[in-house]
């Protein structure tokens, strides 16, 4: 009997839910005639279903759904209005700029840019102890270097003489 019960139990719920095939239904019904345990199991399922279902059925019979549709209509109207207004607000809204993930990188970028720009604007021209190399000119005969000394406003022309050995070979 136990073996039969264990094999029938696979179909008992399907039978209870009216989802068993004809063959399964006949098997179960034949077994139920002889097995009290399976009859109790079936009754237990029926009582459980009643516990779950009956309060719901009672509630729905008493319910007249007062104003439910009107509330739905109102909610839809509000959402339509909000949608238009929300769209305008979001277009004008600058508050996203105040979110941390926006303003922190923006401030950091501004600081870096300021630092670079300041370097360019306030950069001092290094002095070379009163002299500046202006030009170095090469020619066939001599190499010439011209200095303009800014502070004393002097121009120095330095002419390099070729060494004798180089002259001999060229």
């Amino acid at each position: 009997m136990k073996n039969t019960c264990s094999s029938i139990s696979n179909f008992l719920e399907k039978y209870f839910d009216q989802e068993a095939t004809n063959k399964e239904r006949l098997l179960v019904e034949r077994h139920l005639q002889e097995c009290q345990a399976c009859q109790d199991a079936l009754r237990s399922m029926e009582e459980l279903r009643a516990l779950i279902k009956n309060p719901v059925e009672e509630a729905i019979q008493k319910e007249d759904f007062p104003w439910v549709w009107q509330k739905i209509e109102r909610e839809i109207r509000l959402q339509k209005k909000q949608t238009w207004w929300q769209a305008l607000r979001s277009w004008l809204d600058v508050s996203p700029l105040f979110e941390k993930k926006v303003w922190i990188p923006a401030v950091a970028t501004a600081v870096v840019l300021l630092f670079i720009t300041a370097q360019i604007f306030f950069k001092k021209i290094p002095s070379y102890s009163e002299t500046s190399v202006v030009e170095y000119i090469e020619s066939e005969t001599n190499n010439v270097m011209v200095y303009d000394i800014e502070k004393s406003k002097l121009t120095v022309i330095w002419i390099f003489e070729e060494p004798e050995e180089d002259s001999a070979t060229s």
């Binding site: 109790d40 237990s44 399922m45 779950i52 719901v56 509630a59 729905i60 759904f65 439910v68 209509e73």
Partner: protein, 196 residues
């Protein structure tokens, strides 16, 4: 889905609120039944009905007609109801704990005690249902409250029939354990609690 319903849904998808009213007239009781099955409180169930139809009007454009419309709607109801139950579930349990444990009243023939027992029973059923995983709870409500077939349940829950049967089986087993004082256990033939 018949032609009339197809046309109603098309109009609703184009923003016709009259079509939504027709859908509401046709389905609001079913929606309420499922919502009440989950939350077991009138006001909350009515809020869920309202929320579901507002959501439906917004999202019905996404309904492509690949499944039955009612399974699409039932899935929406179930998800909304379970979200509501999750938000309020802890409050309910804690308030019952504050009031102390209930003791079943032995003699149910007397009027007020009978009402008390019924109220206690409804609370116990609600608590037991709240303890079930969402999928098992949904399976029990679709089957035992709404009477959907396994095929319809599979469509509504987005799973196979085998999974539906498994959720039903384990859901019933768990509920029976939780309500063992109120349900005749298998094997104890001939005994039963007084019917309410």
């Amino acid at each position: 889905m018949n032609l009339e319903e197809t046309e109603m849904i098309s109009r609703c998808q184009r923003g016709d609120q009259e079509a939504l009213k027709e859908i509401f007239d046709k389905y609001h009781k079913k929606v309420y039944r499922i919502a009440y099955g989950v939350v077991r409180q009138r006001e909350e169930a009515l809020d869920i009905v309202q929320e579901v139809f507002v959501k439906l009007f917004r999202s019905i454009k996404n309904f492509k007609g690949k499944s039955h419309f009612y399974t699409y709607l039932y899935r929406m109801v179930m998800n909304t109801a379970i979200d509501h139950a999750r938000k309020t579930g802890k409050q309910i349990i804690s308030s019952l704990d504050e009031e102390g444990s209930f003791e079943p009243v032995a003699d149910v023939e007397k009027g007020p005690e009978r009402i008390l027992l019924q109220k206690e029973l409804e609370e116990r059923v609600k608590l037991a249902m709240d303890k079930l995983p969402a999928e098992q709870r949904a399976a029990l409500i679709f089957r035992d409250v709404e009477g959907l077939s396994y095929q319809e349940m599979a469509e509504a829950m987005g799973c196979s029939i085998g999974t539906v049967m498994s959720r039903l089986h384990y859901g019933r087993k768990r509920i029976q354990e939780l309500l063992k004082d109120y349900v005749v256990p298998p094997g104890k033939s001939g005994q039963s609690l007084p019917k309410l």
